[in-house]
């Protein structure tokens, strides 16, 4: 018996690589018939007419009353090579898109109904939440149909929309259900940014500050020098911000060696552990970028209080955020937020890994957070915000 159990057993070792490739294209007026970028994308690898299902964020439709007509006209104009499938599907924008599992079902219904296959397209036009939900549906239909993202917010154009993650919120947990999947392509159309409300315009800038803080001191200085232009909604400066921020995020994915995050390290999630919890505690009335701004402030203050980051650097960080118009404090930023550490660890899996700063432009990781000092950092931020308000 023993002998049989322990006899030299065989092993086959499997090891392979999968290549992923996609482009992020920057354009204006994507659905103007004179702009053939999307038509070219859809037909570049096609033997026949390319079928595309189009899903639009309800908020974007409201802001651009002519959008649906423009999309239909665009497909009509190029009807030799591309074919719109059925009616354009309108879905609720913002976090509700990710909180409603029936949305996934309704997209899968359409994918089935119109015979969208692994060489057909699901195009999503909207903010990060809509892209995350549609992207998940596209990723699991036929084990992945081609997915083109047209992000319409600063946040989705410079961060979430150009990455390789999708997901929805289930069990009250952010992104509990989702997958890693490379989009077929991303098209950043600056035209959509013109109608953003001030909150969404500003919120997306938080991820640029974040990536600058952990990776690129020069970009941080540029943000300081352009903070007024950004606060005043200068479009050209925003174009440049999005390009540089997207580029830094994409470089990270390309060079990290762990694009599908099999380890516990999540450097791009600087400031995010508190942000996720704050979004949840406020029932998403605080938007992701706004929460990230608060999370950045908190973890920067923590970095300083633990002696890693000097006072002038912390001052520069908080002042930049304030200049950009961010609230750095929220009444819910209290003890309960600290539970976010364990939830963040659980979502990453394995060891708690938190990015901190030892200089502007340089992050480093720790595996423990001192809860007393986190509470002190909260007080520091509260105090800073109160003084700002008095001025």
């Amino acid at each position: 018996m023993r002998k049989e159990i322990m006899k030299k057993e065989r092993i086959i070792e499997q090891k392979f690589q999968v290549n992923f490739q996609f482009n992020v294209l920057f354009t204006h007026n994507i659905f103007d018939v004179e702009n053939s970028i999307l038509q070219q994308l859809l037909s570049e690898n096609a033997l026949n007419t390319s079928k595309a299902l189009v899903v639009v964020d309800g908020g974007v439709k409201e802001a651009h009353p002519m959008l649906l007509t423009a999309i239909k006209d665009y497909f009509k104009h190029y009807n030799k090579s591309i074919a719109l499938q059925g009616e354009i599907l309108i879905v609720p924008g913002g976090e509700p898109a990710k909180n409603d599992e029936t949305l996934i079902k309704s997209i899968l219904d359409k994918i089935n109904q119109f015979g969208i296959d692994r060489h057909s397209y699901v195009i999503a036009i909207g903010g990060g939440a809509v892209l995350d939900a549609v992207g998940f549906a596209a990723a699991i239909a036929h084990r992945g149909v081609r997915h083109i993202r047209i992000p319409t917010t600063v946040l989705s154009q410079n961060d979430s929309g150009i990455g390789v993650k999708n997901g929805i919120n289930t069990y009250g947990k952010k992104n509990f259900t989702g997958s890693f999947a490379s989009p077929y392509a991303v098209v950043n159309d600056a035209t959509f940014l013109t109608t953003l409300d001030d909150r969404d315009w500003r919120a997306g800038i938080a991820e640029a500050v974040k990536v600058a803080l952990i990776k690129d001191a020069e970009f941080f200085e540029w943000l300081e020098s352009e903070s007024e232009a950004l606060a005043n909604r200068n479009m050209e400066v925003m174009d440049e911000l999005i390009y540089r921020c997207a580029d830094l995020h994409m470089q990270h994915i390309r060079t990290s060696g762990d694009a599908f995050e099999q380890g516990s390290s999540r450097p791009l999630d600087f400031g995010h552990w508190a942000a996720h919890k704050l979004e949840q505690l406020t029932n998403f009335s605080v938007r992701h970028g706004e929460a990230v701004a608060i999370g950045i402030g908190l973890d920067s203050a923590y970095s300083h209080l633990k002696g890693y980051l000097d006072q002038p650097s912390l001052d520069r960080i908080l002042n930049l955020m304030a200049k950009l118009g961010f609230d750095l404090y929220h009444p819910q930023l209290s003890e309960q937020v600290i539970q976010g550490l364990e939830e963040f660890r659980e979502h990453l899996g394995g060891q708690l890994t938190i990015m901190l700063l030892d200089a502007i432009g340089h992050g480093f990781e720790v595996h423990e957070m001192d809860e007393e000092v986190v509470l002190e950092a909260m007080k520091y931020i509260k105090q800073y915000s109160a003084e700002k308000l008095e001025v």
Copy 2:
């Protein structure tokens, strides 16, 4: 206007590789406490006690009345390093596992309830259908928790269980919803094969004949020489068959350059277009391996009738299948099956791509099937089977 639309726009090119790695271990009596393979697997990358959720195929539980006790005792014995989470979840075996979406939900419920994270484990013990369904749930929870497969049938040990696909049947379509995901590890325990009924024992051999036909003439000859031993349920010969068949499948995934099947080519799906349709038409009363055997016979006859494969080779193929005890004809093998071609194309996406044979051990691809000749091939198989029965 025109100028703005057409101005030189920017592009960021993204390109990265993701590395996947897992082992297929061959063993006996995996839950004997003297066999530490599973304990080693679960704890090799762990900082703390490893949490594992265990899901068992109802059919396997029936066939091995002591299994649940053995699993619990195993975890108790190694409780310093591994911890079973909650009750062992029993799920229906066979295709029903893939036809019921609520199964995915119940596994996700447990993953949430027990805090299974990206460094914890979901272990599935069962046939290919159960592994496919559990694997899908594991792949989408937290964007992928670690999944260990313990396949219990010939088919799942030599083919489906050692691959990188999962999925469930939705909209009445096989694997409509699913993903590509690498398991954390696969453990093939030969002990489970001893209780298989004759149909399941035999069914799994079809995939070995398939991979031999398209890739390895020497393996085909070995199958011919061992056909009697296999029909008589010689365990040692079956061990060898599974090892060689798994090895060929894994080599293919490793060297194809398209492990996640982004193209339209699906060489390992020789004989599968008709098989999928036949399973569906018979409401899965024909098992996958049985259907694949019929599909192999059909596409071999087609290869011959189109002039690609010589008569002696076709005879050898059909005779081997008959010797192994396969039925090569089914009353549902008629015109309706031909719809399977379009469904197969849709699932693959893009161009129809079908593997045919020009010799034993060598497949080649075509992009068109002559429906008249498919019908002739069906008649040929019907005739062959009738003659076999008369003998």
